[in-house]
Structure formats: structure tokens, C-alpha cells
Assembly symmetry: C3
Homo-oligomer: 106 residues x 3
């Protein structure tokens, strides 16, 4: 079977990213970087009724990805050695997240 | 019918994004954020002949997305409740924009 | 033949982007912008054993793209006039990079 797998997250306050999968400190540093890149409580924010982390979560989602398309060959996803697929949660409170996977090919 | 819809914008100075679709202030805040993240008239910019908003528009496009792939199930796009597909224009002047939609599946 | 071409790069320290393909200064400015947006040697970085350009390369990858999906019609990729597909290298040292192209359609 050859084709593609499309992974899609049905939300606007988290992302789906491909990231380095071996060293947890890489994810730690990524989160710290995004905390600085998209701060909370910007004085010009108007979309604030759901809390200080709401608007930054939408911006972080736009700056990253909602779907990933991964090639399939010989019935296996062709991820590189260091590539992992991660859900990148941008809200502080716990949320249930729905991910849809679609496989196309023959 | 199940498969995917691929939405693709044929330009390098606007983006196609999935964004919160309910509250217009979320889009307002997103635009203000990008105005600050990618300023015009950086002293090191060399690609300036088409105006001050030209190079920032390419950078904003690279930081966001040129295509979105949305799963289809039972003949409907499986967007989440709050997900909308938006063209994010980065130029000041009015432009005609071409979007190509490709549906794959059976 | 109509469908899509998916271009996917199997690495977490470079990106695959669609970018303005005519004026090399646009790519120059993009690189200078990313040098400033994601600096090296941030004091909070922990993922540093592979060198100062390692963690910034993962962040730049997450801020851009690992794959592009381009529509195909009449057996040709439907790129816009100014769109080119580029590998955006984020490491300083030379690396071999693997790109997988998957064509789907009929």
C-alpha cells in the first residue's frame, strides 16, 4: 500500500506538529520559546473573555499546523528517524482533543 | 464519499489558514499580532522595490500556511465546531486571489 | 491526470516551504528575519549538546512546514506564477536531506 496519511486536529487552540522525538528537552525548549513569542495579556487583545491563554492559543495554532500529511510506502508511514507527530496543547486547562486520520492510496 | 479536500492558494503574499470562526475580534487580534511580529521597513530588507508591505507579506506567508488538507467523511468536510478556513491577506492594496480546491477519495 | 503532489522532508532541522521564486533577495531577507526571530544561545535552552544551531533549527522547522501539498491538473502542478518549492536549511553544517514526493490521483 502506498499513498498518504493525513492527520488533522479539529481545534483552534492546539496544534499538530512534527517534532524531534528523542530528547524531551527539545519539547521543553519549544514550549518556553512559544511562551515568549506569543505572550498573554497583550494590551491590544480584544478576544479575552475565555481567559488570558485563549487568544495566544489561536495565534500559536496559526503559527504552527493543524494537519500533517505523511507519505506511506510499503504500508508504513515514511517518517524520518527523528520525526514524531505531537499534539501541541496551547491551553492551560485540560481539554479533550479530537484527531482525524485519513489514509489514501492503494 | 470519504477522503480529503486540499485547499491551496496560488500566491506568496497571502496565506490560507484555519482560524477561530465565531468571534471577529480573534481575527482582529491575530492581525495586530502579525503587524508586530513582522514589521515593515526592517533596515536589512533588500526586497523592497514593490513597497514596504511586500517582504513582510512573504515572511507572514512562510510563518503560516499555503494549503490546508481537511478530512472528508460521509461527503462532508470534518472541520471542528470552531474551525473556519480563511484567506489571510498580507498586502495593503486590493489583489485578486486564486484558490484551488482538490477533492480526493471515493 | 488530476490530484495532488505531496512533498515531504524527513528531517526536524530543515523545512520545506513555498516561497517567492523570482528575486533571490526575498530569500536573503527571509533568512535574516529568521536569524532574529529564533536566536541561538537563549539562556533557557536545554537541548544544546549538538551545538548552538540545533534547538533554533527545530523551532524554525515548527514555525514553517515539513510538507507541502500542491494540486495537479492536466498532469501539471498548479503552482502560482511566483511560487517555488524550497528546502529551507536551518543547520550551519552541510547535511544530506531526503525529500519524499507522493502523487495521488487519476
Amino acid at each position: 500500500m502506498a499513498g498518504t496519511a493525513t492527520v488533522f486536529v479539529q481545534h483552534t487552540s492546539c496544534s499538530l506538529i512534527i517534532m524531534e522525538n528523542a530528547d524531551p528537552t527539545a519539547r521543553h525548549d519549544l514550549e518556553r520559546y512559544f511562551d515568549r513569542l506569543v505572550p498573554e495579556n497583550e494590551p491590544y487583545f480584544q478576544h479575552t473573555t475565555e481567559g488570558a491563554d485563549d487568544m495566544p492559543s489561536h495565534i500559536r495554532m496559526v503559527l504552527t499546523r493543524t494537519s500533517e500529511v505523511i507519505p506511506i510506502a510499503e504500508s508504513r508511514m515514511q517518517l524520518g528517524t527523528w520525526q514524531g507527530i505531537f499534539l501541541f496543547e496551547h491551553r492551560r486547562a485540560s481539554h479533550r482533543r479530537r484527531v482525524v486520520v485519513t489514509v489514501i492510496g492503494e
